[in-house]
Symmetry: C2
Subunit: 213 residues, 2 copies
DNA sequence: GCGCATTTGTGTACATCGTCCACAATGAGC
DNA sequence: GCTCATTGTGGACGATGTACACAAATGCGC
């Protein structure tokens, strides 16, 4: 009878929740192979549906990719928040603020290393032009990765650890540093570096951000 | 008769220098559309040759891409060197060393902004696994981008601007920062930022590297 | 000079992909 | 219960990467 064979095979004509199923499949594909692996036909196959069915829910492969991308971004935010959650709140504000910034960076780098396919998908060039703006890409706390970083920096200013004059654009600079390391580690010259070396480099980079910002 | 129609149409059976022609076409494609635009059939079309001819010179599309990638990397090195060449040598060694580091970074960022397609191609993930090691990717001076950066950092140590203890891994950290900014500006949230804002951010980032390294 | 093997380009073919169009099954609203 | 908008199916097209067999040109040994 095979009501639920591994790929699919449903009895009903309607799928019920195809849109979600396609995104789910897309996430699985992205996880395994990055953005290029998000292939429309394969997603429909996994959803047990004919390729064209996808066009009832997405205008194009790119449209599906964007949805997957948003999901991936949300997971980045998750990773950051879970790192932030580890912080003990008891400390002096200055230390706490600094630790927040590091936590944000650490979450980013950890996620990049652990889920490189999704990470690459999250930051793929979104077509020729797109406001993008990381729309519904927030984590459980309701903040997207960019906003989480901004909040950490604000905390640093309040705690007097970061001069107010240096606050402007600080998120771009800090993000750049962390993002660059993530990229180089994922598929740049630093690929296959070993977790220990990766952590060491990560710490060193965050030192630079902390001191140089 | 059309001996030389725009796309191609040669008289001879042999092409003469197909390998080079394909790489050249690949570079043009990468320039215009990044790594994904390096399409084997289109390259052969431009070379005025049937698709399969490419396989006499490249094992696969990916192999062609690697060749284009090497060329792109060489141009990155060019950009860095040309920025280094602008430096007046007369100054105090410390200033000169610092300026070298900035020049390397500036060249990198300039190239990323001016030739984003080639830049993205230069740093695309090279397949599932590859030693890569930036082989014949050097500029006129014979140094690849990574080596140019290393040389600048060495100069800083010699000039006493960078503590010897902090020299280790410094290229990875510095590269990360600059690379990250380049990525964000090219197709991340900082896309379409305007040259002035871009330069400002670049300077700020290089400040961070200089102070925080 | 000449014959033949090696190189290099051609022709045909296949699977896969994104996408379009016409049609069929379904379920909601009257 | 009829109608109609929604959602999935079937078949098709052009593009891509690539494999296999064949043909033209080159160059080497003689």
């Amino acid at each position: 009878m095979a009501v639920r064979a591994p790929p699919a095979a449903r009895g009903t004509y309607r799928h019920g929740d195809l849109r979600r199923a396609l995104i789910e499949a897309g996430i699985a594909l992205a996880r395994a192979g990055g953005p290029d692996a998000v292939v429309l036909r394969e997603a429909t196959r996994r959803a047990g549906v004919v390729p064209n069915a996808a066009y009832r829910h997405f205008a194009s492969r790119l449209d599906l990719l964007q949805a997957v991308r948003a999901a991936a971004l949300a997971r980045v935010a998750d990773a950051m928040e879970s790192e932030l959650a580890k912080l003990r709140r008891g400390r002096r504000p200055a230390d706490f603020a600094r630790a927040s910034l590091r936590a944000v960076g650490t979450g980013y780098l950890r996620f990049a290393a652990a889920e490189s396919g999704l990470f690459r998908t999250a930051f793929v060039a979104p077509g020729p032009l797109s406001a993008a703006a990381l729309p519904a890409a927030a984590g459980p706390g309701g903040l997207n990765p960019f906003e989480l970083l901004g909040a950490a920096l604000d905390r640093m200013v309040e705690a007097g650890v970061l001069a107010r004059a240096r606050r402007a654009d600080a998120e771009y600079i800090a993000w750049s540093a962390v993002h660059g390391l993530a990229m180089l580690v994922i598929d740049g010259p630093l690929r296959g570096l070993g977790p220990a070396a990766r952590r060491r480099l990560g710490r060193r980079l965050l030192d630079m951000v902390e001191n140089g910002l």
